[in-house]
């Protein structure tokens, strides 16, 4: 009987594949928009305005903002994918195909999170690629200072936001909820999370207040991976973010088990 299969068995792999194919087959809807947006970011902030901004921590402005833009794109897409896919499935009720199957709740949650985190990572790679093209054309190509940290932070932040996306997809009662979450919660946190500036330029109490924003640790950690420069101890950031991600994944599983937003 298939139910004896493991959490990561055929059922999990099928749902994971379905979730990945959903966005891979629609690159114009999923990968092209962040590519174009980031071409604009790099062109305007990096080239047009960046030339008039002093170096930050010894880095040209376009180099400094690259990690932040990668984080912004990666987590937005991880969040959006999970929230949209789950909400759309609820809205049209085809999520019942998975819900009425012998998939365990943990398998379902892990499949949604893994597929969404992968989309975030792919978008992050695309944005990094756009950035490297701009850097190569205008300044000089840069390498990755701490690849291990970059991979670790990339994984943990996309998993974290994919997990938040699952909560959002279960909570949403309407398509407007998805827009609200992205525009009014995630974007402000990211923009005040040190994507476009170093925390050192902030006066007190704003610098200390910024440390309450989890985005600060994420941007700082990815920046450390790319540039080898961080305002905060990257190991501490990684530990806190990993703990948070584990907690939100556990919350997702609990919500699925309770049937929150899924069953009557």
């Amino acid at each position: 009987m298939s139910t004896s299969g493991s959490v990561l068995g055929v059922g999990f792999r099928t749902l994971l594949r379905r979730e990945i194919l959903r966005y891979v087959r629609r690159p114009r809807n999923t990968f092209l928009p962040p590519m174009i947006t980031n071409v604009l970011y790099f062109a305007v902030f990096g080239i047009v305005l960046g030339g008039r901004i002093d170096r930050i921590a010894g880095f040209r402005y376009i180099v400094f903002i690259l990690p932040g833009l990668v984080v912004l794109g990666a987590i937005s897409n991880a969040f959006e994918n999970a929230s949209f896919s789950i909400f759309h499935g609820r809205w049209n009720e085809y999520i019942h195909e998975a819900l009425t199957s012998p998939l365990s709740y943990t398998s379902m949650v892990l499949a949604y999170i893994a597929a969404s985190a992968l989309r975030g990572i792919l978008v992050g790679i695309i944005i990094a690629g756009v950035g490297f093209v701009f850097l190569t054309a205008t300044v000089a190509p840069i390498g990755v200072a701490r690849p291990g940290y970059l991979v670790a932070f990339g994984l943990v932040i996309t998993v974290l936001f994919a997990s938040f996306g699952v909560v959002g997809g279960l909570w949403a009662r309407d398509f407007d909820y998805l827009t609200v979450m992205n525009q009014f919660i995630i974007r402000p946190l990211v923009f005040f999370g040190g994507v476009f500036y170093s925390l050192d330029v902030l006066p007190e109490p704003y610098r200390t207040l910024s440390l309450l924003n989890p985005m600060v640790y994420m941007v700082d950690g990815v920046r450390y991976g790319f540039l080898g420069y961080a305002d905060i101890d990257p190991n501490l950031s990684l530990a806190v973010l990993s703990g948070l991600a584990a907690a939100v994944v556990a919350l997702d599983v609990a919500l699925f088990r309770r049937g929150y937003g899924l069953v009557d």
Binding site: T14, Y94, G259
Partner: protein
């Protein structure tokens, strides 16, 4: 002894402002073709959704092949193939892939899932549409696809919620044939339908439910026996007033256009005695026509009397619960439960 395919006891589902199931107890044995009849809002779909995990019960027990639908949800769901009334199909993928996914969720490896998807599409006759997305299928093809999706995991229990709603006669007969073949091969079938004829033709037993309760469980034939048949007799010299008939089971005798109309339970069994009695009274019977009570009439009578009884009890007791109007069920059927 093999556990029943479906067993529920005192199943209750309460929403904020409405109670959909009020202590519904049902047992469907393995291999049965079981019909669930009831008017709109009777709780049929809620009952099904409790079994597949789309509705969380408020109280009571529900098992599928002995597996508790909440505690052993994976085993219970693995046994079920569901064709719901509403079209809840993944619109992102061609229908063949939708079936492959559904099979995969049931733990069936990719190559086997592809084979089963093709087989299911061929069974329902839409294999040539395999690369089409659901939205582009005609209404009849959509109904066929719903059945294919229920079949693809090769379930032991096939649950069909109004499978022939809104389809033409030809397709309805096609679907009946497929479902019958499944049942002949040993698959237990739970069918809800508004088409009484469908239940009459297909089901071994039917449960009539109304307002979240079971009114009766019996075979369609037994239920029809409980209705009143109408016997119409032509008389060579019809009298001016209806003759007296002293036979058990006769509920009414009347004359219309010179023909004698006798209504009676189990009318066909009564005909020889009726003719003999009329003969003894000097009436020569020229022809006889028997119109059997339809399941539909029995159904309407039962749900009507149930509702009338419900209203009476509610006004007397000030609460919703009441005893059953039915007279009890046959083997495997619990006595109606009131709350």
């Amino acid at each position: 002894m093999a556990p029943p395919a479906i067993h529920t006891r005192d199943l209750v589902k309460e929403y904020a402002d409405v109670t959909a199931l009020r202590g519904l107890s049902l047992t469907v044995e393995q291999g049965e073709f079981f019909g669930l009849l009831g008017p709109n809002g009777a709780g049929k779909t809620t009952f099904i959704n409790v079994l597949v995990g789309l509705v969380r019960k408020t109280a009571g027990e529900a098992t599928v092949f002995g597996h508790d639908v909440e505690r052993d949800y994976r085993e219970a769901r693995d046994a079920i193939g569901l064709a719901p009334q509403e079209f809840n199909v993944d619109r992102f993928f061609p229908i063949r892939e939708v079936l492959e996914h559904k099979a995969g969720y049931h733990g069936i490896p990719a190559a086997e899932a592809r084979r089963r998807a093709d087989e299911a599409l061929k069974t329902v006759g839409i294999y040539d549409k395999r690369d089409t997305r659901f939205d582009w299928l005609s209404g009849g093809m959509k109904r066929r696809f719903m059945l294919a999706r229920a079949l693809v995991s090769d379930p032991d229990l096939l649950i069909l919620d109004e499978p022939t709603a809104g389809v033409d006669v030809q397709l309805r007969h096609d679907l009946w044939e497929i479902i019958n073949r499944m049942n002949d091969a040993g698959t237990t079938i739970l069918l809800t339908t508004h088409y009484i004829e469908e239940a009459e033709r297909l089901c071994d037993r039917v449960a009539i439910v109304d307002e979240g309760r079971k009114v009766e469980v019996a075979s369609p034939g037994d239920l029809m026996d409980r209705g009143t048949d109408t016997i119409t007799l032509g008389l060579r010299n019809p009298p001016a007033t209806p003759p007296e008939v002293n036979l058990g089971g006769v509920t009414d005798v009347s004359l219309t256009d010179g023909r004698l109309l006798v209504t009676a339970a189990r009318g066909s069994a009564l005909v020889p005695d009726l003719i003999r009695e009329l003969d003894e009274r000097g009436f020569e019977v020229t022809d006889v026509d028997i119109e059997r009570a339809s399941l539909e009439e029995v159904f309407v009578d039962m749900t009507r009397s149930e509702r009338a009884g419900g209203r009476r009890d509610e006004s007397e007791d000030g609460e919703v619960g009441r005893a059953a109007a039915g007279t009890g069920g046959d083997a495997g059927t619990d006595v109606e439960v009131s709350r």
